[in-house]
Amino acid sequence: MSLRWRRLGGEQTKVALLALLPSFIVFCVFTVYPLFYSLYMSFFNVHLIASTRRFVGWANYVTLLNNPTFKKAIMNTVHYTIGVVPIGISLSLVVAVLLNNRLRLEGFFRSAFFAPVVTSMVAVSLVWTWMLEPNYGLLNSLLTRIGITGPGWLTDPSWAMTSVIIVSIWKNLGYNMVIFLAGLQDIPSEVYESAQIDGASSVQSFFRMTLPMMKPTIGFASIMSIMSSMKVFSQIYTMTGGGPANSTMVIVYYLYQQAFEFYRAGYASAVAWILFVIIMVFTVIQMRFFKTDY
């Protein structure tokens, strides 16, 4: 008997089968099957609750790509991503570099930056909605004191997306900061010491050494941020409901509305698959450019 077949019938294989069974079942039932079933459904007109269905071919995709609201949702998602990722990543990197100086109070600072990460998005959104309330909210009250009339942050279509972006940056700053701190700690301190002896200023050593050496980490964090930005939902639901005037309508909120408010399961599945393909493209980019080793 070949080694391979002995392994197949071997004791370890049996144990492994048993050990993997629960994960395998959950994986198949709640990930693999739904993923392909949603592809299948996207070619039908399906009611979410009633089991009526009609084959429509590519019609859902055609309607979708011609739908102005969906187009707006894609543009808004891109807008949101462009608003969140570069600023969020740069800010967290700066904070991480500042924190990486063996400071007193380092623990306090880290906790302060990290606290929003552990707080639920819904609670965060509620607090910010209250802070951004146009008449009595904290921000506009403070602005009034210095003689500025603040905008209706979440009620004005030209400000709503900016407000959501600010909240998201605030919420996720600590997450990327921790990833950057870990990356910074991998840079050997001799590198900085020799630079200091050569008379490099801290700004110089940031741009000449920290930044190049952190490139893989920055790339990784950026891709992860882009992917989570594509899936933005909770803050939109709680703060704006996609409004005002669809100014914060994003892909996932559109999917949610179509599927769970209008029960258009097939149509919404087409949205789901478009989102899935977009995310996969970024995943492939990530795997190509940032070699991960397991």
């Binding site: 993923l35 459904m41 639920s120 870990a182 639901y237 996932v252 995310i279 995943t283």
Partner: protein, 278 residues
């Protein structure tokens, strides 16, 4: 030399000032949430905003707890988070151990496939998952709230990485002594895996506790709602009761914040580990 030290001192001071300003702006919303929660219902509606409540009122908390079944939301959140955390830690331990230690055909390929599923957005599967749960008759039930999360690639991955970092010799010795594989896992490996189990448990609990989209679509009555769903539904545009909403937010946030503060070092380290290494 003195000049240099002076320069470093000045830079250090500037550094502290910048960080302190940033840290305060990070904590400000929390302070505002807490302060507002102790204000009277109408006290927040004043153009002349005050930081501190004129007197400490618990009426926001009272309304949050009585106008809605808020305690029930809390109970549901605890039950759902506890079930998912317990079961997921168990399934992840089993799967992680199989991927790390057991020799079976196709192990690495299966692991990679399972791992890459981490990239599939929940939103891509949420509609069929909903339909499935509905057909199973589990809409608006603990089963519906927990079933999809009882095993995740992330958990298996985390445990596998931890097991790989453990020396094999103890397990081998136990096997030579005639211990079965499951016996080894239970008696030798698990007692040494407490940090990893705690990390995974903490992450899972927090993730489930804060999860919003799934519980929101899968619950249809107030009796089954979790805290996050209850919180989100408190928001109304007409006559918003901010002190009540802030009080509810405080109560929903406090458990995770306390858990975080009590284990923050481990928390941040393991997040860095999981974030950078996969």
């Amino acid at each position: 030399m003195n000049f240099l030290r002076l320069r470093t001192n000045i830079t250090r001071t500037i550094l502290y000032v910048i960080l302190l300003a940033l840290a305060i702006s990070m904590l400000l919303p929390f302070a505002w949430m807490l302060l507002s929660s102790f204000k009277a219902e109408d006290e927040v509606f004043t153009y002349d905003m005050n930081w501190l409540p004129s007197r400490i009122e618990f009426s926001g908390y009272y309304r949050a707890l009585t106008l809605q079944p808020f305690l029930m939301y809390g109970m549901n959140s605890i039950v759902v988070s506890a079930i998912v955390t317990t079961v997921q830690v168990a399934t992840a331990t089993l799967a992680g151990y199989a991927f790390a230690r057991l020799d079976f055909p196709g192990r690495n390929v299966i692991f990679l496939i399972y791992l890459s599923a981490m990239m599939i957005p929940v939103q891509a599967t949420i509609i069929p998952a909903f339909i499935l749960i509905n057909r199973m008759g589990f809409l608006d039930s603990y089963q519906g709230l927990t079933l999809p999360f009882l095993a995740t690639p992330f958990g298996a991955f985390l445990m596998r990485q931890f097991f790989l970092s453990m020396p094999k010799s103890l397990e081998e010795a136990a096997i030579i002594d005639g211990c079965s594989r499951f016996g080894v896992l239970l008696k030798v490996v698990l007692p040494l895996s407490k940090p990893a189990l705690a990390t995974l448990g903490l992450f899972t609990f927090m993730g489930v506790w804060n999860d919003f989209m799934w519980p929101m679509i899968i619950t249809t009555t107030a009796e089954m709602r979790t805290l996050q769903v209850g919180l989100a539904l408190m928001r109304t545009d007409l006559y918003p009761d901010w002190p009540m909403m802030m009080a509810a937010s405080v109560m929903a946030t406090l458990p995770v914040i306390l858990a975080f503060l009590s284990a923050q070092k481990q928390f941040i380290q393991s997040l860095a580990f999981t974030g950078v290494k996969y």
